[in-house]
């Protein structure tokens, strides 16, 4: 047994975005410590600058088709990973811009806030590149750790504490499940890397192991029945953190789910389709029905997020390359709409200090811009043409109908109608009801930028999706190797029975 580290200096190029971001994180931290008098906005712009450089680096990778694997396949940088990293970094940048004003609510440690946001982003970047169970565990916990802190950042606010605690308890529970699942899978296969598991036999241990891993990831994406922390945490957390939480970890967890289901478990598709169909139907239906009763916009968006996850699971259940394309596309559409909607929530709560839907009455008069933006974001989430969400939903449905998942599509379509109801309730408050206090609402510059980016994304993807579909199609090219007509497995009924 000798030490052998096959790592050339050029290999580190693949890790360049992560390495750079780590260094930048330290720079931000050091600046924060060393110059306590520096206004914290500058730290925000400093972090954004680092993130933009990283984003540029990734864009360069994407354009030049840089890809490869490191550490014996444990770290992959394929085009899908690059796609997800770009999505995550984009979300991070927008979230930081959206939180500049909000940070003033924190009594302590305003600078560390940005560090923790960047740190979570870094963790999620590792997540989407993780190609083995250990990396998944380590990076998942790394990313979540930042969120544990961020969610309870409003230290004097009981709701924030409570949300943070619920999130933490379910988070560590998920970590426990994940650890045990990993141990079982390791015992059954002797491997940690997903692509080595593709030939594994479906023994009970493996099935239980993967179910536990699925449950843990289900907690992260917030699919029913693992959703119980979502509404409380979204409600309690500082709104920019909620924004971040509603997009980036979901995207990263879906990257892992895609790798697990399509690479490691590609041959067992008939088995897991049933599971995914059930989770998808439950998520959509439950979340949409409960959302109707919500009075708080953050909770409404939390439930809407659960429903969106249900929609994304339709694409995963399709289990084809087209399904994956649809998932990526949907995430992109969801990113813009959700960040935009939350940005409006932040702007409104900065001005009027509440998140109750009732207090949105007359927003159309008080701030036509915010109301119009919110309208478009909500309609995009509901899936109304010509907005991005509609194309995303259609893409997913088309992918699913090609696989003949009719039940799922019918449920999904019905849920579009249900969801339209509660989105329109908000629209009604904004446009139809008259304001109590007609004073206009001021919006800060960075916030405007975020909302404009959200609007631009929502409209452009909705009206001209071709470049984006091209992008997602090329991003999932790697899966073409794993999913093809050649894979045929008789439905192993005995597996379901244990």
């Amino acid at each position: 047994m000798t030490f052998s580290l096959n790592l050339a200096f050029s290999d580190l190029l693949l890790l360049l975005p992560e390495i750079f971001l780590t260094c930048w994180l330290c720079v931000v931290l050091i600046v924060d410590f060393s110059f306590p008098r520096v206004p914290k906005e500058r730290l925000a712009y400093l972090s954004v600058a680092g993130l933009i450089v990283t984003l540029g680096c990734l864009a360069w990778f994407d354009m030049n088709h840089v890809s490869g694997t490191l550490f014996g396949n444990m770290f992959v940088l394929d085009r899908m990973a690059i796609f997800f990293k770009i999505v995550i970094l984009g979300a991070t940048i927008l979230v930081i811009l959206a939180s500049i004003e909000y940070v003033n609510r924190f009594t302590l440690f305003r600078g560390e806030y940005y560090c923790l946001v960047v740190m979570s982003a870094l963790g999620m970047m590792f997540m989407v590149s993780a190609n083995d169970l250990l990396s998944v565990f380590v990076s998942l916990e790394f990313a979540t750790l930042g969120f544990y802190v961020l969610v309870s950042y409003l230290r004097d606010d009981l709701a924030s504490n409570e949300g943070g605690l619920k999130f933490f308890i379910l988070g560590v529970l998920a970590a426990g499940l994940l650890a045990y699942g990993i141990s079982l899978v390791y015992g059954e296969t002797g491997k940690l890397v997903f692509s080595d598991m593709a030939s594994a036999q479906p023994t009970p241990g493996l099935i239980i192991g993967f179910l536990l891993i699925f449950a843990a990831l289900g907690f992260k994406v917030g699919a029913v029945p693992f959703h119980s922390w979502i509404p409380d945490t979204y409600h309690g957390a500082p709104t920019p953190v909620t924004t971040f939480l509603s997009i980036a970890p979901k995207a990263a967890a879906f990257a892992i789910l895609l790798r697990i289901f399509l690479v490691a478990l590609g041959t067992f598709k008939p088995v897991w389709v049933v599971l995914l169909v059930a989770v998808s139907i439950l998520s959509m239906t439950y979340a949409n029905i409960v959302a109707i009763a919500q009075r708080n916009i953050k909770r409404l968006l939390a439930y809407s997020g659960i429903a969106q996850v249900g929609n994304i699971f339709i694409g995963l259940a399709a289990g084809t390359k087209m399904g994956n394309d649809a998932i990526l596309f949907y995430l992109l559409a969801y990113l813009f709409a959700n960040i935009g909607a939350f940005a409006v929530v932040i702007a409104v709560s900065q001005a009027i200090g509440t998140d109750e839907i009732e207090d949105y009455r007359g927003l159309g008069r008080r701030s036509p811009f915010l109301a119009f933006a919110m309208l478009l974001f909500l309609l995009s989430l509901a899936g109304v043409p010509p907005l991005a969400g509609f194309i995303g939903k259609l893409y997913i449905f088309v992918a699913a109908i090609k696989e003949g998942l009719y039940t799922l599509i019918v449920v999904g379509l019905i849920n579009i109608v249900i969801s339209m109801y509660y989105y329109l309730i908000v629209v009604k408050q904004m446009y139809i009801n008259e304001p109590i206090d007609p004073s206009p609402i001021a919006i800060s510059g960075p916030m405007k930028t975020v909302i404009y980016v959200g609007l631009a994304g929502t409209l452009v993807i909705g009206i001209y999706p071709q470049p984006f579909t091209d992008w997602v199609v090329s991003a999932t090219l790697m899966f073409a190797n794993f999913i093809g007509p050649s894979v045929t497995v008789a439905p192993p009924v005995h597996l379901l029975g244990g």
């Binding site: 084809t320 036509p368 043409p385 599509i409 009604k428 446009y431 001209y464 073409a480 999913i483």
Partner: protein, 569 residues
């Protein structure tokens, strides 16, 4: 202009809406003129379209196609045939008229015109889509502007306005107000409209997705699908797939038409909407249903249409009679007109159900004619409402002294709606009745009864509004004097009468679109040959599965289809 006419018609309103975003509400004249000029461009282009359309050549003309999404097989494929052309014309006329009808809107005029333009553009988009995706796209897009137009500029019924006690107010704002069917608010109307239409649109989308999957062509293009989609005789759920698709598509789109059991959103929506929106709604939006049924069900599933269209023939009777009776007893001007529209839409279904050249042409012409007639009526009801702020017929009366011009126009509008000779409605009604007499004599008798009913309730309303003793409360009401106010009515009247006297151009255009369609549907196929045909087709599936064109026809079990999984790539 030339071959790009469709793009002008479709995108002028969008461009207008976009331009309006950057104009402040503080310049009302600029706002109005931008909206009016956008509509005017659209109107000019559609007039050009109507006269440049070549009925001898027939088929789809002015076709524009550009690829929109390779992966999903969607292209922005626009084109009009003899059926779409008059409807595009009707939409742009009503849009233009609607902008002038709502000239006096003070509250958030900019937003009003933006949504109105988007609504009109979306309906126009449906009339010229040759791609199932874009048909649905524009269809669904027209729903949301309706919500905002109704909610923001609509009006409540009297009963709702009386609800001023604290409990009533709470009820208005309660989250579950949609479940409170006693409420007559504009919010309720708007929400009901959107949810109802979306729910049924989603059914239609399911049908469209099934067409997409089972045609196996990876395209939404109607022209390709109607030639190549083999959707017949695939057994599903104890019936055949084509019937399921047909039913989904038919009822999905018939909800907006509105066919009898699915009509309940429509009068409420009409009543709550501001005048220009009611005009577009009743005049054009309801025709989206008929038009989409013709485009999707008739074009792609002609044989199933022949088989199942009697459903429409049965339901349209209820539509005509029920709508007529409710209109007769309604006390609210807009309810009367709203139910009359929903009753008149029954005639279109009758014309469509009979499936012959005369009746189908009559149906299409009726759509055009009804757009003008109901547009006039709603414009005038809106005018009366603006002057008196009530829609309650019993409390009105004797307004003819105050507004002679409106009352004269109202008479003309009633005449057109009833189908007096000299208006284009007359021609359309005659064609529907003559054309469907052979096949559906009972329905024709009912339709005649419906005409009598129309006469009764429209004259009753006319008497209630304009004649009899006058309520002094409304003495301040005045007539439409300025050119701006008179223009929309004059346009619609002149079009209605003009085509009534010189219908040949319209008839030619419509026939050129209807003829190939009816020829496809009524193609006489002996029963034995149909069976043989299906046998041949199912044999063809086997080589088809190995060729590059994936045929999934025989694979209905989910999750087990090897071929369909291969398609994903």
């Amino acid at each position: 202009m030339g071959e790009y006419a469709l793009l002008y018609i479709l995108f002028a309103p969008f461009a207008g809406a976009l331009a309006l975003i950057f104009i402040s509400n503080r310049q009302p004249l600029l706002v109005r003129s931008v909206a009016a000029s956008a509509a005017f461009v659209s109107l000019l282009a559609s007039l050009y379209l109507f006269y440049a359309y070549d009925p001898v050549k027939g088929g789809f003309q002015f076709v524009q196609k550009c690829e929109w999404s390779k992966q999903l097989g969607i292209s922005l494929h626009l084109g009009v045939d003899g059926i779409g052309t008059p409807l595009v014309l009707a939409s742009s006329i009503l849009l233009f008229a609607g902008i002038f009808v709502s000239w006096h809107i003070k509250d958030r005029a900019k937003e009003f015109y933006i949504w109105l333009l988007i609504l009109a553009a979306a309906t126009i988009g449906v009339f010229m889509s040759l791609d199932l995706f874009f048909l649905y796209f524009f269809y669904e897009m027209s729903v949301i502007p309706m919500y905002l137009l109704l909610g923001m500029w609509g009006s409540h019924t009297k009963k709702y306005l009386e609800m001023t006690d604290s409990e009533g107010l709470k009820q208005r704002d309660s989250v579950g107000f949609i479940l409170n069917f006693g409420s007559n608010s504009k919010e309720y109307a708007a929400m009901k409209l959107v949810l109802f239409l979306s729910a049924f649109a989603v059914a239609a989308l399911m049908g469209i997705l099934l067409i997409y999957k089972y045609s196996g062509l990876n395209t939404f293009d109607i022209l390709v699908l109607r030639e190549q989609a083999n959707l017949m005789n695939i057994p599903v759920l104890g019936t055949t797939l084509d019937r399921i698709i047909w039913v989904l598509v038919f009822f999905g789109f018939a909800s907006i038409a509105p066919l009898w059991p699915l009509h309940s959103w429509s009068p409420v929506g009409h009543a709550a909407a501001p005048a220009a929106t009611s005009m577009l709604h009743a005049g054009v939006l309801m025709k989206l249903g008929h038009f989409s049924i013709i485009r999707v069900a008739f074009e792609i599933l002609p044989e199933t249409t022949r088989e199942l269209m009697p459903i429409a023939a049965v339901l349209c009777m209820f539509s005509i009679v029920y709508g007529g009776f409710v209109a007769f007893y309604a006390k609210d001007t807009k309810y009367v007109i709203g139910y009359s529209s929903s009753s008149h839409m029954g005639y279109v279904f009758l014309g469509m159900a009979a499936l012959n050249y005369i009746s189908l042409s009559g149906a299409v012409i009726y759509m055009f004619a009804h757009a003008m007639a109901t547009g006039m009526l709603f414009a005038m009801a809106g005018w009366v409402y603006d002057q008196t702020h009530t829609r309650d017929i019993p409390s009105l009366g004797g307004l003819s002294n105050k507004m002679p011009f409106i009352s004269v126009c109202f008479v003309v509008g009633c005449m057109a709606s009833i189908g007096m000779p000299g208006t284009v409605n007359f021609i359309a009604e005659i064609m529907i009745i003559v054309g469907s007499w052979d096949k559906y004599p009972l329905q024709v008798v009912v339709a005649m009864l419906g005409i009598v009913l129309t006469l009764a309730y429209l004259f009753k309303m006319m008497r209630g509004l304009f004649y009899g003793p006058m309520n002094q409360k409304y003495s301040h009401a005045h007539d439409a004097i300025s050119a701006v106010d008179r223009l929309p009515l004059l346009i619609m009247i002149s079009i209605s009468i003009g085509f009534g006297i010189f219908p040949m151009r319209l008839y030619d255009v419509v026939r050129s679109g209807v003829d190939p369609l009816v020829a496809r549907i009524t193609r006489v196929v002996p029963v034995a040959q149909t069976h043989e045909g299906s046998g041949v087709r199912s044999e063809l599936i086997i080589p088809g599965a190995t060729s590059t064109v994936p045929v999934v026809a025989s694979k209905l079990l989910p999750l087990s289809s090897q071929v369909s999984r291969g398609e994903g790539k």
